[in-house]
């Protein structure tokens, strides 16, 4: 794998290979000495044009566990804030001898452009681009589901036959997009639930079922329910009338949570708006994978960086 830009590009065996490699990375977390020498001498720049402390730290931990040298570049206060172009910024950094770029950007397609425009010639990992994709998030979600369902016999397996429901602002969610492709590639059946204002206008764009009645979908007992973060400012653009109403109709309330099977996983990419899209009862329950998702994010990102920088799986 040269770059990781989108989960739409990942073949099934490639995706399973990355998840298996993440399993290997996870075994190192239990050791007293967690660090692997795999990327010693290589320099990775975390190019963050958008604030995202969680994702940036997760990548940084992954890079350090692999012994890479890490440069964090935040757009604020840099030459970017003085109007430097993406092309010039990337070329400037790689001229200093960077071996890979992890990019988070507010514009959809920024990672794709960086990888394919001929501006630079190093591997690019997409850490979230606009409302397009967030492939490592989808990989960690898939890893988390697989681990909960298959435990220590996870290796080599996909998510065949599992039913996953994703709820929230689908139209603007890069997490939803990346999961739509990846979970389907891995054999899961994906249903997305949102008010029609927050579903893509073209329902046929994704290989998933789109619905607006959350209770009807939850009644089918999905294997996992993933709640997405709601951006409160969406209210001001007439996507929905109020937080209260959104929560009533599309939130995982205590009442809805109580109706779920105890086997149904409750997922959230964080940060959570407790009381809006997810209630604390659900978030803090044994069914919740929220904390595991964060931990698994490090393993998955280690596997991705190892793959793009060495061209092999661990």
């Amino acid at each position: 794998m040269r770059h990781l830009l989108s989960t739409a590009d990942l073949a099934r065996d490639e995706a399973i290979g990355l998840l298996d490699s993440s399993e290997d990375m996870a075994t190192t977390a239990d050791r007293a000495h967690k660090k692997l020498p795999a990327l010693r001498g290589l320099t990775i720049v975390n190019l963050f044009f958008e604030d995202s402390t969680r994702t940036r730290i997760s990548f940084e931990v992954a890079e350090k566990r692999l012994s890479a040298d890490v440069i964090n570049f935040a757009a604020k206060g840099s030459s970017v804030s003085k109007g430097e172009s993406l092309k010039d910024t990337a070329q400037t950094l790689t001229a200093m001898g960077v071996d890979a770029v992890v990019i988070r950007h507010g514009a959809s397609g920024a990672a794709y452009q960086l990888a394919n425009r001929g501006w630079i010639d190093v591997p690019v990992v997409n850490a979230g681009d606009g409302t397009h994709e967030h492939p490592t998030q989808a990989l960690l979600d898939a890893y988390t589901i697989r681990k909960r369902v298959h435990g220590s016999s996870s290796r080599g397996k996909g998510l065949d036959g599992l039913r996953v429901t994703i709820v929230g602002d689908i139209a603007h969610s890069r997490v939803a997009r990346s999961n739509a492709w990846l979970l389907t590639t891995l054999g899961a059946e994906v249903t997305m639930v949102a008010p029609p204002t927050l579903l893509p206008h073209a329902r046929e764009s994704f290989p998933v079922v789109m619905e607006s009645d959350l209770d009807a979908v939850l009644a089918t007992n999905p294997d996992a329910v993933m709640m997405l973060r709601i951006q409160k400012e969406r209210m001001h653009h007439a996507f929905f009338p109020s937080e209260r109403e959104f929560s009533q109709l599309w939130g995982l309330t205590a009442e809805r949570f109580a109706r779920l099977s105890e086997r149904t996983l409750v997922m959230h990419p964080g940060p959570m708006n407790r009381g809006l899209e997810i209630c604390s009862e659900a978030a803090d329950s044994p069914q919740s994978t929220v904390i595991e998702q964060v931990a698994n994010g490090v393993f998955v990102r280690m596997a991705v960086l190892y793959s793009v920088l060495t061209g092999s799986e661990a």
């Binding site: 739409a8 172009s85 993406l86 092309k87 950007h105 507010g106 514009a107 959809s108 397609g109 920024a110 794709y112 452009q113 394919n116 425009r117 681009d129 606009g130 409302t131 397009h132 994709e133 139209a171 890069r174 997009r177 893509p200 206008h201 073209a202 046929e204 764009s205 994704f206």
Partner: protein, 454 residues
């Protein structure tokens, strides 16, 4: 002024004929014409069309000279076989008063590569709030007849009604950029399966169609003329078709790029394909071609929109809307309309020369290939095929979506007012063209009144 005898040209209807040009006019069209002291140019069967007329060109001057100037834009026009271009009003300052339109007119006269007919803004500063000096632009030396806020939509229905009514005083027309602004807030590309996949904010077809539907009703109610710029959707075609069937005075244009390209071109986030209105789906492209063939859409207009490379080599959301189009328009229309059998060359002359001149109110001086008319001519080799490179782009900017594509047809000679602006595929130098246009003007003071019916 010496004459030119073009020997062996293929007229739009397929007839092989000689064309004798003298003193800036077409003196004779016929076979075996005598040279009679004229320079003889053997055009060996090249197709000849009346010089092309573009009702929708962004020349960017004044204000955005890094993208294009009147001189470079009309050089691009000459490269593409255009002899008349209508200059859009979204310059800086905006062409919303007599001073600016006369300045643009003057630059065109100095350039000599094409007749530059300024378009006037509908509202002050394209602000959409109050009417611009419509009457004084109409009665200025620039004789403005087409008014447009292009780039922005005249979205206030009351203002649109008043503008339609007011410009009818002097036979003017409002050319509407149909885009409902609230439905297209932050829009980046056509709203559909591709925008959903790419995570780019959609520009829904209904935002164009809603404005066109409203405007044809206003045109009917006020008994005024409406022209719809760069129509891009199958739904818009249906609205215009039914309006025409009811006798409403509406005309419509389509760009070459909307006749060829679809929203799938955005898949690699290459902002050369970012344009407003956006590239639509294949079903829209097919409907637009059909509508141009059956006359529902009257004309092709380029919406030539030059931008410097830094406004295209950036994130899609930050990139400018628009693509250059003058140099390639004829090739793209040949590809989309002639090679598909939808239009013949008589049809091409109609939609790219005669009808644009009629809509723009300059058909006394442009858009007709006939004895006694001004000698604005383009000679093309329709059999040629070549891959487009930046060397083929004669304007200042290279934001063409067709670079690297093999295109049919090649403009060989462009003749304006009896002199070459492009000869054997090479743009004639600026001082030669400038001298030729001065000679023409000196010998035709008050040329407009000398034009015979032909």
């Amino acid at each position: 002024m010496s004459g030119l005898l073009f020997a062996g040209a293929t007229l739009p209807d397929g007839t092989l004929s000689d064309i004798l040009v003298r003193d800036g006019f077409v003196e004779r069209i016929g076979s075996d014409l005598k040279a009679d002291g004229c320079e003889v140019i053997d055009v060996g069967g090249l197709r000849v069309l009346p010089g092309l007329v573009d009702l929708h060109t962004h020349l960017r001057e004044p204000g955005f000279e890094a993208s294009e100037t009147v001189l470079t834009g009309t050089q691009a026009a000459a490269a593409g076989g255009f002899t008349t271009v209508f200059a859009m009003a979204n310059t800086s300052p905006v062409a919303d008063n007599a001073g600016v339109v006369e300045q643009v007119l003057g630059r065109g006269i100095d350039s000599g590569y094409a007749t530059v007919q300024p378009i006037g803004a509908v509202t002050v500063g394209l602000g959409g709030a109050e009417l611009a000096d419509l009457g004084s632009m109409a009665t200025s030396r620039a004789r403005v007849r087409v008014f447009s806020d292009d780039g922005k939509c005249v979205h206030d229905p009351l203002l649109m009604r008043r503008a339609l009514e007011y410009v009818s005083t002097f036979g003017g027309v409002v050319a509407q950029h149909a885009q409902e602004p609230r439905l297209t807030s932050g829009s980046q590309m056509n709203e559909g399966a591709v925008s959903a996949r790419l995570g780019l904010t959609g520009w829904p077809a209904v935002a164009e169609e809603a404005i066109i539907a409203r405007d044809v009703l206003l045109a009917e109610y006020t008994n005024s003329r409406l022209h719809v710029c760069h129509l891009s959707t199958a739904g818009s075609v249906e609205i215009v078709r039914s309006a025409k069937a009811k006798g409403i005075k509406v005309t419509a244009e389509v760009t070459p790029h909307h006749l060829l390209l679809t929203d799938e071109t955005a898949s690699e986030y290459d902002a050369r394909f970012k344009v407003n209105p956006p590239l639509r789906t294949n079903a829209d492209v097919m409907a637009l071609r059909q509508a141009l063939a059956d006359g529902t859409i009257d004309i092709v207009a380029t919406d030539h929109a030059p931008h410097p490379s830094e406004h295209k080599e950036c994130e899609w959301n930050d990139a400018a809307f628009g693509m250059v189009g003058l140099e390639t328009a004829l090739s793209i229309v040949q590809l989309a309309m002639v090679e598909t059998g939808l239009l013949d060359w008589v049809g091409i002359a109609r939609v790219m020369s005669h009808q644009p001149a009629v809509i723009g109110g300059v058909d006394d001086a442009a858009g007709v290939l006939a004895e006694g008319r001004i000698a604005d001519l383009v000679f093309i080799d329709a059999t040629s095929r070549s891959t487009l490179t930046t060397d083929d782009l004669a304007g200042k900017s290279i934001n063409s979506p067709y670079l690297g594509m093999e295109l049919p047809g090649r403009v060989v000679h462009t003749v304006r007012h009896g002199y070459f602006t492009q000869r054997d595929g090479v743009i004639v130098s600026a001082d030669v063209v400038s001298r030729a246009t001065r000679d023409y003007d000196n010998s035709h003071t008050g040329a407009g009144t000398e034009v015979t019916d032909g």
